[in-house]
Symmetry: C2
Subunit: 328 residues, 2 copies
């Protein structure tokens, strides 16, 4: 019997453990061209919160009572597909479960790079690609720019910080708490802000007296307002996530929104899947950073399939430094 | 003696009549290359509110006790400049006063077009250019797009509406009150919203069930939130003005801001002076619309220099349909 986490109830506000239910069910026999994988690593990501609502969005909502999807690294344990053999490690989207049967076309064999497999759920996966294209394509950040990154200790933010530093930008990273801020400093930022220590707008003004050229937003809310308050002329904001508001029915309050006009600020929302056709740019660029030792990686690991909801819920309470993962 | 309106006090919130003072003073004798003009038309515009605050912005603040600036049409009454003779009508920035001495380089002779001179303060002036480049360059609106315009009965908005219709777009215009909405309908919109009759987000959903591709924002606040709620994928917002917040210390509350992400919305603030180098595009394009009778013009006129502050204050209370002007 395979086990999988289902959505038992659509969360109202912040999800609760009772919104999830672990079910057992038989897997189907393998069809031609299919593989059975045993998952080794599961990814939990903030965007999944959106799929728990029953609203039309860029990804369809999770169905109640059905296994949820998500990034995963699995080991092939049975194969009727050419090119995939037992023991191969693959990346796929049947996360939130221990085993899955899937078409070989839906599984990508991990390339032979000298990194641990779970890196393909982080810096070499969706979060890394989000950081790369958000910073370089959406915000058009370039050497010499001053870049502000919120959730700089998170999976995406910590990668943004390191790409930006490698490319010659001045970087300010914000994170919650002294420990996370200290880790953000280790990543090489020019200035770290602990947003729990005081108003972020004031702190940003102190460390960036000349303002910012780029804001990479993972948070929304006060961080976005602070970025507006300190935007330089023609600043570009890449709006990647607003974890502050995913669970919250209250409106976002912005005191500095009208600064958009005088400073000709551009705010651009994006989702990483729009850039899949340019994935080779990402792999080439990140491969170079990896090869020259300019990427640090940090993970927060929960063990066991049972821990998956806790890992997910921890994303919203600051429970992770770096990529949040579940190890099976 | 010439008379001029000065800023007597920096307004707190909505300006009051006592924030302005009318002074008399002698004009200097004409230097070589200078002209003396008697103003015939004065422009009052929402952006002037920003110049009344003592903050760094894209235009410097008005100085207390000094005559304020603003668009004006004047008649040359004395000239020591080649090319300008008494009787010539010129456009210049020494508004808020009855007479001025200025360098000929700061005065543009009105071109010989078959329009009344005050049109150069409206559709053929700064508001018209704002409409043109905001819609076509900033928002990249094109035939077939559904365009939402707030303050559609205002100087800028009413011009946006007409350019958009002439270029084959579906246009929804919002204005305050049944009379203004009726005039917006006369301009040729596909749908008019009277935002005083109910929540604008609901009204927009009813008239644009498939959503909007472009939002031209003159207002901010609830209108911006409504546009976010109904933005289609890859919608472009040209953020031109936020008259709702110019006088208001309260933050803007946005319930739908996170829609930016899934719908990859682009919000771009702009100011028209960035497009001065492309002015010939504007004159050619607007000239064509004028020549083919596709531009209606509406003015709200106050008479006499004394009425200038009232005209200005009326911008914030919905006192104008079309361009707000003072006739001397």
């Amino acid at each position: 019997m395979a086990r999988a986490w289902t959505l038992a109830a659509r969360p109202q506000g912040t999800p609760r453990p009772t919104d999830f239910a672990l079910i057992e069910r038989d897997l189907p026999a393998l069809g031609e061209g299919q593989v059975r994988v045993a998952n080794r690593w599961l990814s939990v990501d903030p965007y999944m919160r959106g799929r728990m609502n029953d609203v039309k969005s860029y990804v369809p909502p999770f169905q109640l009572g059905e296994p949820m999807d998500g990034g995963a690294i699995g080991e092939v344990v049975e194969s009727r597909a050419p090119g995939l053999a037992p023991g191969d490690l693959v990346q796929h989207m049947r996360g939130w479960r221990d085993e899955a049967v899937l078409d070989a076309a839906d599984a990508q064999k991990l390339p032979a790079l000298d990194v641990p497999p779970q890196a393909f759920l982080g810096q070499l996966g969706m979060p890394g690609m989000t950081a790369w294209f958000g910073l370089l394509a959406v915000a058009e950040a370039k050497a010499g720019d001053t870049v502000f990154v919120s959730a700089a200790a998170g999976a995406v933010g910590s990668t943004v910080v390191q790409i930006a530093k490698a490319k010659g930008m001045t970087v300010i990273g914000s994170a919650g708490g002294a420990d996370k801020a200290a880790w953000v400093r280790e990543l090489g930022v020019d200035q770290a802000i602990d947003y729990k220590a005081g108003p972020v707008a004031r702190a940003l003004g102190e460390v960036a007296p000349k303002g910012i050229d780029v804001y990479f937003d993972n948070v929304g809310g006060d961080h976005l307002d602070a970025a507006l308050a300190h935007a330089r002329p023609r600043a570009r904001f890449a709006i990647c996530g607003m974890i502050d508001v995913y669970n919250d029915a209250r409106p976002t309050e912005l005191r500095y929104l009208a600064r958009l006009i005088g400073n000709r600020v551009r705010m651009q929302g994006f989702i990483v899947s729009d850039y899949l056709s340019r994935a080779s740019e990402f792999y080439t660029g990140m491969g170079d950073l990896l090869a020259t030792g300019r990427l640090q990686r940090q993970e927060t690991v929960h063990d066991g399939l049972e821990a998956t909801p806790d890992a997910f819920l921890g994303l919203f309470t600051g429970g992770n430094t770096g990529k949040m993962l579940v190890r099976l």
